[in-house]
Amino acid sequence: MSADNSNWWSRLYGKHGLSGPAALLLLVFFVLVPLLPGKFWTIVSTEILILGLFAMSFNLLYGYMGQISFGHAAFFGLGAYATAMVFTRFKTVGGEIATFDFFLSLLAGPPTAALGALIVGFFCVRLTGIYFAMLSLAFGELLFYIVFSWYSFTKGDDGIQGLLPPPFFQDPVNYYYLTLAIVIAALLAMWRITESPFGYIMRTLRDNQRRAAFLGVNVRLHMLVNFVIAGAFAGLAGALWGPFSRSVSPGLLGWQESGIAVFMTLIGGAGSFMGPLLGSVIYTLLQAVVTMFTTYWPLTIGTIILLIVLFAPGGVLGLIEKRVKRRRGEAADADADDEAGIPAEKR
């Protein structure tokens, strides 16, 4: 962290995005959410955390590896369906599930998604840029239509209903704390990964693949490993989603769902670790509030995205970063290390 103490808010922003104090503030805020009156905010916050984890897993590909995936929701959906299917298998006729079996079904999500990501990624990492985006989109849509049409296995477009968690976790507050614990653990793991040598190889691949190859990096293997990691975290988010919304449907795999991860990441800022989570806070809260007053949610979010693209290209955290750096007298783009999401090599 910079030694600069010129004002309190610039201290909340460190070299790698949110600084320690800011993360602590955020944590305290999330822990205290259930104190708010009514269940509504607790439920919204659960959604924020799950979708935030999904968006952050997307950002492993986009912000750190420099490739945009339009099929990332496929892994979110695979995780959700794996959990839902195991869940349904364990469920008694009365629709109850033992706590142990419930956790076991949650565990089914990430490996299934990782396996899917391994197969899809094997082909995707051979391409970059628009071709990477198109191939991931095509795989995502293929998986979507398979889930959509394979009625005997996935229940088709009816989806799988009745994913009622064990009695203790039926209370939104308890499910919220479970989600919070899992998401924090996942974030710590992701933070560890992005700050490891592997994470820095990812940044190199983002900035200049050819140079990385010259340095002896096995480009495709590293991209594939990252793809699988991102898929597994998306699957974890998906696993949490089913019991939260009590159902899963093929739409979870569709490209519009992938778009949500892209939105959140770009709204919050792809250039920092916590950016997508902040994006999820903004997106999900806005959606919860706006849909109370109007059905024109797409119009609202569309306009917001339009304004962000035109006037705040780095997302909200990008804006903050710029202001902080101006305060500190650094050039806005001096710290090239954290200017994520920009593949230097345009094809």
Partner: protein, 295 residues
């Protein structure tokens, strides 16, 4: 498969292919010249269809209903949407040139959401369709809507027109040159911004035209654009970015594969289409007719 069922699937597949071609041609041109992947292309197609519908209804109210009123309605909608496309490029899309691909995608995707909701505001949620009252004609022991032939003929005619435009006219040649090297074209003193606006207007005009032509066959309804745009991406990827011939062939492949797959796998017909996309991207990422240059 008996010949009559075969014929029905073939003709509906081909007319579907023509609409996909008209849309993808614009998409491919815009991408080739400006490097913008326009997510909102199918949404503008949808608007074109709705505008055609409104003009058709208005004219019907003025002069009495007649199927022939579809012609001025389509032309009016095409002109109006081309003008809208011109303005869209000039005041919005232009601001993102030189930015990263994801930001451009995000801008056009924001347009999908905004325009989609504006359609809902203006035209409501009911489906809009035009009934021309054409009797199906009997052939091959079955009944086929002759309008399929109108669409196929129109599609082929537009394809030839586009080819002529791109290869035999000055503006078309400039457009093709801009696909290869914008800097060179610019250095020759040709106003590139004007070319960009023109190409965007042409693409949106083609899309609106497709929306109008397809109106008697398929009702316009909210959200269809989300399905159509990914199919257009499929067409452009299979054919190869920037290749008109490729787009035409790929549109026929996608349209026909879709309409035959629907017979044995109704819900998964599009899965077949995306399977082809995946195979093409793995085998030749630059598409069947694209050049390796851009890959």
């Amino acid at each position: 498969m008996d010949p009559s069922a075969f014929a029905i699937q073939l003709f509906s597949g081909l007319s579907r292919a023509m609409v996909l071609f008209l849309l993808s041609a614009g998409l491919s041109l815009i991408f080739g010249v400006m490097n913008i992947l326009n997510f909102a292309h199918a949404t503008l197609w949808l608007v074109g269809g709705y505008v055609t519908y409104s003009i058709f209804e208005f004219l019907g109210g003025q002069f009495g209903a007649s199927p022939w009123l579809l012609l001025p309605a389509i032309l009016g909608a095409t002109a109006a949407m081309a003008a809208a496309g011109f303005a869209l490029e000039r005041y919005l899309i232009r601001r993102t040139y030189g930015r990263d691909l994801p930001e451009q995608l995000l801008l056009t995707f924001a347009l999908v959401l905004i325009i989609g909701d504006l359609i809902k505001l203006v035209w409501g949620v009911e489906n809009r369709r035009i009934s021309l009252g054409i009797e199906p004609i009997e052939m091959l022991d079955t009944f086929i809507n002759p309008y399929h032939f109108v669409i196929i003929a129109t599609g082929v005619a537009v394809a030839f027109g586009l080819w002529f435009f791109l290869h035999r006219t000055r503006f078309g040649k400039i457009v093709r040159a801009a696909v290869y090297s914008r800097n060179m074209v610019s250095a020759l003193g040709i106003p590139i911004p004007m070319i960009y606006s023109g190409v965007f207007a042409l693409g949106v005009g083609l899309a609106a035209f497709a929306g109008g032509v397809f109106l008697p066959l398929l009702p316009m309804s909210l959200g269809v654009d989300h399905d159509i745009i990914v199919q257009c991406f499929a067409v452009v990827v299979i054919g190869g970015f920037g290749s008109m011939l490729g787009t035409f062939v790929a549109a026929i492949i996608v349209g026909v594969v879709y309409s035959f797959s629907i017979l044995f796998w109704p819900d998964g017909a599009l899965a077949m289409v995306f399977l082809i996309v995946i195979l093409v991207l793995i085998w030749r990422p630059w598409g069947l007719f694209g050049t390796e240059l851009r890959y």
